[in-house]
Amino acid sequence: MSDTLLQVRDLAVTFETRRGRVQAVSGVDLSVRAGEIVGLVGESGSGKSVTLRALTRLLHANARISGQVIWRGEDVLALPENRLRAIRGREIAMIFQEPMTALNPVLSIGRQIDENLVAHGSLDQAGRRRRALELLDMVGIASAAQRLENFPHEFSGGQRQRAMIAIALAAEPRLLLADEPTTALDVTIQDQILKLLMNLSTGLGMAMVLVTHDLGVVAQSCDRVCVMYAGRVVERGSVEQVFGRPRHAYTDALLRTMPGFGPSSHTEGAARARLVPIEGQPPRLDRPILGCAFAPRCTHASAQCEVRPEMVDDGSGHEAACFAADALVAV
């Protein structure tokens, strides 16, 4: 596809820890087209945040990343440091879950915007200040001129998240990686921030990868979604496909844990379908997983699940790695 910005192939991340090697992410393929919002969902520990950080090599020294991350024709994983720095912030920016810890407590918001503009642009001081004011305005922070001088602790939680978005967007990136951007916020604020991100994405033509464990957030904002389990993408497709007719037993089970989401709620026409929790725990990642990682918790598991299923496209671009795919849709 010609408008593909980011193409991830066979991404794997292992961490060397004191207790051995942990295979956090394996075999992840992911593509992001210009302007679209892709959701990356899964439980904690499913590898979604690690995947996100691996894209621009933000993981720490104990991480080994393999595979390819093709950004507009270049493999980010093979780039030299200086070229990587030119992409970070300028082309691919990132926002984090907790703005209180992701913003530097001892630098003013204005300073934290400014350094981004200095790193990636040629504006003079007055120009950078104009741009900073414009950015605060764009993310909905009132009386921008005074707020530039303020430090992170002088902002409320929602305002801090807005400020972080302003900082990340300073150099007009084409892709924004958002790691649980609404999770740390009050419910009312969550919705505002999500709408802001969606509006910015549309307004600026900026693509976004949105990592979240909140299916509601994905349903509300994303074009396409990847479901991750135990470090692998197990299902991928448009939001309507994946949430409407899940083809992986894990996605199906996940949707049944959410009120108003269960696939059966459509057919029964009942607003309150029965909520079914997923029994058991995700598998440990410090030993090899044979077969389907979800099988031990799966109500559809059979003998063939001892061999890991491949991703299969149903012909409409809806892919899943599950032997029960057709059975799930048939129900």
Partner: protein, 312 residues
Amino acid sequence: MNRLGMVGLRLLQILPTLVLIGVVAFVLVRLLPGDPVSNMLGDHATDATIARLQAQMGLDQPIWVQFLLFVRHAVQGDFGDSIAYHVPVARLIAERLPVTITLAALATLIAIGLAVPLAFISAVNADRWPDYLIRAVFQVGLSSPIFYVGLLLLTVFAAALRWFPVGGYGEGIGDHLYHLFLPAVALALSFSAVIMRSLRASILAVLTAEFVDFARSKGLSQRIILLRHVLRNALISTVTLIGLHMGSLLGGAVITESVFAVPGVGRLMVESIFARDYTVIQALTMALAVVVSLTFLATDLVQMWLDPRAAK
């Protein structure tokens, strides 16, 4: 601004501290066995001579009368004459205190200059050879007695190489600094080891902070991330340590001042204690209290500058 009020308040708070320290110093020196008169007159003095001289100096009065006299003169800025040197105490301290302050400040600068870059190299290469090497060298610095380091520096750089004078204080600011350089290095070695260890630990902690990842995700250079984002946050806790240590250098540079024959207040204090020179001990204790309080105030100001959250 609010900050100015805070400084004013802190300066006012020094006054009650000073009163308390004055009382304690006054009482404590008189609790020491012996007295200045018998010290001055030696073993062969008769009791009658001693009593006469004591009466002359007012030392035969009850202690509270002596204290009221001391306070009456002190509030007028008169701290009396030194019993041993026969000169006004104020003049003695005015001569000696700047020497020690210069020595302590120079030692602090050298210690910071050594510790900050090496703490960085150590932290960035944590648990690899540069880290081990730097920590090992500082461990030696930290565990070597100051008098030994001092003698070593004297032997090598003053006696053998003749790059520095063996002692004294010289004339004029440049000469003062030149004379104080070796003693400052001797003081700075263990001081810098303390700063290095603290700063290395804070840098390591800050390096794992999420704002460092955010800074990296913005495409900032490693230099800017380390100097602007990491160092400033890591210094916040270390500045307190530097301030406290500087305070102790001011009163505790006795050994160094003796080894290098530096005419500072450390030596003056020890000599005065041996001579039971009450007036000098009292006044010097109070003067040091003021200097140390001001050092702590300056430390807090630096801290507020580094960390806007502390400014409230």
